[in-house]
Amino acid sequence: MSEKFRGLSPAEFFHRNREIAGFSNPARALYQAVRELVENSLDATETHGILPFIDVEIRLHEERPEWVVLRVADNGIGIPLSEVPNVFGRVFYGSKYVVRQTRGVFGLGVKMAVLYAQMTTARPIYVKSSPINSRYVGEYLLYIDISRNIPHVQKMRIKKKTKNWHGTIVKLTLEGSWVQAKKRIEDYIRRTALISPYATIRYRSPDGELIFKRVSRELPQPPEIGKYHPRGVDVEVLKELIRATNNASEVTLLEFLVKHFEGVGEKKATEFLQWSGFSPDTKLTELKLADLEVLASKMKTFPGWRRPRPLTLSPLGADLLKKGVKSILKPEFVAAVTRPPSSYSGHAFIVEAAIAYGGEIPPQDTVMLLRFANKMPLLYDEGVDVSRKIIDSIDWSIYKVKLPAPVAVVTHVCSTKIPFKGVGKEAIADVPEVEHELEIAIRDVARRLRAYLSRMEKLYEVKRKEVTIRKYMGEVSSALAYIVNRDPEEINALIEELLKKELAKKEVRPDVVSES
């Protein structure tokens, strides 16, 4: 009748419950592993001002057809050699637990790939890293010791650098269903290329090789590491910040606020403390738990905070976005916009949108939509995404788009916290502030499309008049000629003469046609 109690390591937990992180079956697991590695590579390059070169290779294992070998190489900053084992071999370990826009945030993804690989094929992960500021290159073969959640290094070799290469190469052998996953993976790579037009991505698979060459050498401003916005905290965050404060018994509440929170200067902090009834001179150690609860609750509701600043964000920028769209969708026209920063519940966000028309875009019954969040493509659950909702609510005919039409809308939401709809992280919820910004952005680019389509229309108007009249002239002449008993040629000549006079009245003015 007695129960046996024991603790579980995080690695054990996720080993048992891998579907939580998307590793639910061999097809999904392969797709997820590709994503995790590619996104780590992008974070290791562009975030640090490096033009990314990413090499993705998928091949089937020679002996075991149900196994897949996945290799991703980048030219990023590399990983400090001392950190390599933990970064790949310890769940909940990483560099991304800060207020900054990055793709991954859980510190979980790549470890899940390692876990999945070792539980299905018992093969260690191979890592080679050449940190940018180091003179050494390291190679590792390592496992996760699941029961203890620590890395287990099977082999390691540290050499002096001989080439100037820096970056990281990761190689995994896992059970994966290539046939079922390939459509999704290619889609993912293609859309990643669109949103990272400064990256060169080489993708080799059993189906052949695709190369997406960078179309720009400009990089967006990398995100900075920021502070918490005062509206986004809870008691536990306050406790953590206070605990991390040295000599807390000497630091006042005022100083604490100014130091740790985004957009809070002395004036703003004083104003807040007055409003909330705290004394500015209270020392941190004097605050009881109940006080902290009240403080957090007041911070959440104070109406006077400044909006969060977007330094922590790294939007693509309208020019780059246009380049990305052009290179992947190959449209006849493209327009893009980056909205000014905005915020919801203390989280900064920026919305970008692009519209593309014609060219190689196939005409479709609805407006095609490509969604991105923090530069990650969102491939699933489009039907419940706020962008789809907005697009479906727009009467496109006011923008001169008559469906079916060859038109695509691209939306990109950057935020330190993307408001996803569920744990699937594939659809953005309709948070009013985000919805508002998205609608403005989409309507903005839609208006530019309308201007383009109008100019194109005008160009053809006079021409069309002539074509229309000539089209019907023959029928009119012969009908009239029959009734009045005349030669049709005669009637035709009469109309011809009148038409020439009519057309002379109008003049054709070609105009600047494309924004692109």
Binding site: Y460, V467, I469, E475, A479, L480, V484, L498
Partner: protein, 379 residues
């Protein structure tokens, strides 16, 4: 346009009059062009907004608004071409003595125009895509010339039947409509070409339903009640309406309409009486503004104890009844408004055949003669 026709005489303009009118339209266009003006037609506007309720004559008539249809206005040029094309087809039929249907005119004028579009692509277009387009220009020509399509020799599927004490002359045959046996005379398309030689009857009874007509004819109702019996078999065609109109206009016979007691029946009455709201230009020749509605009316359900023999009205029935309440000829009639309101309240319809509840002879020997005798019709 309309004037009291001489009693019973042929009421159609001659073929040469018709041709002259049609040709003059085309001549005007050529004259415009020769004097340097881009060609245009002037056509009375056939929209609801240009429809006027002539209270005295109890008729909807076309208002004074006209529209210019210019060949050089690219929004109009196709319709211009279609109008001229149709004009030539009708002129040709008249010149050659043909009697086409509107469907034949559609096919006769249908062809493919090949051209090069403004972007330099080869393209093609039909002179018209469907019959709606060719029909619309026939109506345009009717209002532009003041001629009915029948005058232009266009036939239609004529459904009407007539029987009773009257003698007519058509194509030289003298026909006695009281000598049709079990059958009846099928009314043709061109009623205006018929001479009505003699009519000996007290009234005209128009029944909506063909089967009821057959039954009354088999019973020799018209002989026993000295009337002319007509059916348009549901929604009446133009020639049935024209025949009823001529009997009323030229011979002063009262006209009674007997339909089912539902919105569809009321609407059929309305068509005999005033025509379609959207085709008001026809009503001056086709409508019988004094036609009397004999029944079945919603109040008859209680009066004749037909509860339990009714059918639930559908949403569409009710919607249509509400529309009818906006028709000027119903709006002006207190009795009609009462009946329509009753219909909307009770939401029940009743068929002519429901009188069979009281016996198979009840309709012919009780309901119809007594309603007429007691002036229980409504108008």
């Amino acid at each position: 346009m309309s004037s009291q026709s001489p009693k019973g005489k042929v009421a159609a303009p001659s073929d040469s009059e018709v041709l002259a009118k049609l040709e003059s339209l085309a001549k005007k266009l050529v004259e415009q062009m020769e004097s340097g003006v881009p060609p245009y037609l002037v056509i009375p506007v056939r929209t609801m907004a240009n429809t006027i309720w002539d209270r005295k004559r109890k008729l909807l008539v076309l208002g004074p608004k006209t529209a210019r249809r210019e060949f050089f206005d690219i929004g109009e040029s196709k319709r211009f071409m279609q109008t001229v094309l149709m004009l030539s087809l009708i002129v040709q039929a008249r010149r050659e003595g043909d009697y086409p249907t509107i469907r034949e005119l559609y096919y006769r004028g249908k062809r493919t125009i090949k051209y090069t579009d403004e972007r330099g692509n080869k393209a093609s277009e039909e002179t018209w895509d469907d019959q709606r387009e060719s029909n619309a220009v026939i109506q345009d020509i009717e209002v532009a010339t003041g001629l009915l399509r029948e005058h232009m020799g266009v036939t239609h599927d004529a459904k009407g039947r007539i029987v009773g004490n009257m003698i007519i002359r058509s194509k030289g045959d003298e026909i006695d409509l009281s000598k049709m046996g079990s059958g009846a005379w099928g009314i043709p398309s061109f009623v205006d070409k018929i001479e009505i030689l003699r009519v000996e009857a007290d009234y005209v009874l128009v029944v909506e339903k063909g089967a009821v007509f057959e039954k009354l004819n088999e019973e020799e109702f018209w002989k026993k009640n000295n009337c002319i019996l007509v059916t348009g078999k549901g929604q009446p065609d133009r020639s049935t309406r024209r025949m009823v109109r001529r009997l009323w206009e030229e011979f002063g016979l009262p006209v009674y309409i007997l339909t089912d007691g539902d919105s569809y029946g009321f609407y059929i009455y309305s068509v005999y009486r005033s025509g379609s709201i959207s085709l008001s230009y026809e009503s001056e020749r086709l409508a019988t503004p004094e036609a009397r509605f004999l029944g079945v009316s919603p109040s008859d359900i209680e009066r004749y104890e037909l509860q339990g023999f009714t059918i639930k009205a559908t949403e569409r029935d009710l919607k249509r009844a509400k529309e009818l309440m906006n028709y000027p000829w119903f709006k002006e009639s207190k009795r009609w408004m009462e009946e329509l309101e009753l219909f909307l309240e009770k939401k029940e319809k009743v068929e002519i055949e429901a009188f069979a509840k009281h016996g198979l002879k009840y309709l012919s020997s009780e309901y119809i003669p007594k309603k007429i005798k007691n002036k229980q019709w409504i108008i």
